[in-house]
């Protein structure tokens, strides 16, 4: 009966692997819980005792600073013990398999695995093999998904715009290589956003992206018109094979967000970016640091969102 590996037999979140396939009530439950954790992160004592005695393993097979750090802070604020493993530089290079690595950590009494992996689906493989009391959170797998980033984007949008029901959201740039875009699109449509646009050159848009329920624009000016939310994506040079683009300068000319282009969006539009930013490639500094930018609040909300996800899955 149960074919969603993220949910338990009661339909509750047991692992967070992808936003795709999560029902609306589970998504809004995470956002509501995160709102309460924002209250905790604003106190002087920023800790609650929920995960006392639990061990969280940050398993990063791919480098990351922000995501790993915010997961670490989130786990510590829940009073868990956190172990960071930079696996790229450890056993895997000696030939140990992914599941052997996980079994060994399981033998060290792990409760929660936070997994970042270059291959799409790696967190699913781990989730299929962990013990009943162990939980898996996907911190980004290949080009597939980055659900906690998608959730913190959703949280940020809800914080500034309250209701998804009347929003026009434009996602700009390298959609093809972006697991962030994929997660966000699924979340936005599940929560009832009437218009989600993707803007980028044909070479950086996945084939058949319309099937996700988005409107496609190759012209940035046209795509930004009347937008409430503008989400800029990082140009992922390390994921690029071959020449999809003439040059970074050329990209900035057509798809870089400048104050001039932003003026086409609504006057109260917010500008988001999952980071790390390439200033002068996908976003101009005057916009990144300007009054519409909510890029740094996104990072702060990310901690509360990750606290919510960890405490929900570890309790189910």
């Amino acid at each position: 009966m149960q074919n969603n590996p993220q949910l338990n037999e009661n339909g509750e979140l047991r692992h967070l692997l992808s936003i795709e396939g999560l029902p609306r009530n589970v998504l809004s439950g995470i956002l509501d819980t995160a709102a309460s954790f924002v209250g905790v992160t604003e106190r002087e004592v920023k800790k609650v005792p929920l995960l006392r005695g639990k061990s969280v393993f940050n398993l990063f097979f791919e480098p990351s600073t922000r995501t790993r750090t915010t997961f670490e802070i989130a786990a510590k604020r829940l009073s868990a013990d956190v172990i960071n493993l930079n696996v790229a530089a450890s056993s895997q290079t000696k030939g140990e398999s992914l599941l052997d690595t996980v079994s060994n950590l399981s033998a060290m009494q792990a409760d929660l695995f936070v997994v970042r992996h270059g291959s799409s689906g790696a967190p699913y493989l781990i989730a299929q093999h962990v013990k009943p009391h162990e939980h898996v959170i996907n911190a980004g797998d290949g080009r597939h998904a980055h659900p906690t980033q998608g959730l913190l984007d959703l949280y940020t949008i809800r914080h500034y715009k309250q209701d998804f029901g009347a929003l026009r959201v434009a996602i700009v740039g390298d959609i093809l290589h972006s697991r962030v875009a994929r997660s966000l699109i699924h979340g936005l449509t599940t929560l009832g956003t009437p218009e989600v646009r993707v803007i980028g050159p044909k070479t950086l848009l996945p084939a058949g992206v319309e099937a996700l329920g988005v409107k496609v624009f190759n012209d940035m000016q046209e795509g930004l018109r009347g937008a409430d939310v503008v989400v800029m994506l990082r140009l992922q040079s390390e994921r690029m094979r071959g020449a999809l683009l003439p040059s970074a300068q050329e990209f900035f000319k057509h798809y870089g967000l400048t104050a001039q282009k932003l003026a086409l969006a609504k006057p109260d539009a917010i500008v988001m970016h999952p980071g790390p930013m390439n200033r002068g490639v996908e976003i101009d500094s005057s916009v990144a640091d300007g009054p519409h930018s909510v890029i740094l609040p996104q990072v702060t909300f990310g901690i509360a969102v990750r606290m919510a996800v960890m405490s929900i899955v570890a309790g189910n």
């Binding site: 439950g29 819980t33 309460s36 905790v40 609650v48």
Partner: protein, 166 residues
Amino acid sequence: MNPLPDAEKLCVQLAAELKPAVKPSTAMIGLYTGGVWLAERLHAALGIAEPLGTMDIAFYRDDYHQQGLARDPKRTQIPFAVGGRDLLLVDDVLYTGRTVRAAMNELFDYGRPASISLVVLADRGGRELPICAQYFGCTIEVAKGMRLRLLRDDRGKLKLALQHAE
């Protein structure tokens, strides 16, 4: 079975009892959900200067490892400094005492109050921890499988009700 006491009358009675205890250092915190309703009434009736604090103890519950996280926990909001304050902690029904323990743990993450007094509308017995209420509207004996709850209707009227526990 005896009818349950009138919650509105108990409110008035509690406010009168609390009145002499209110000092300049007094502040009040209500526990979600019923405790907040009661606290709103008492806070207004007593004219306490500091705004009312509200607390959801979801992140401090002692049954998280059995029950998981409560759905939709409310945000705790304490709009005053807790340190040195004489706190009136308000809940609707006192039963095992576990909610009060969790609330005190959470409170101490905000500061070191001078004192905490517990105010409840009804004490139903059945304590599992060494906790008691300094101010209570009434005591009601309730069978173990039953739940005593405070309800609030559309017009804001408070009422005690007995329900079968799930």
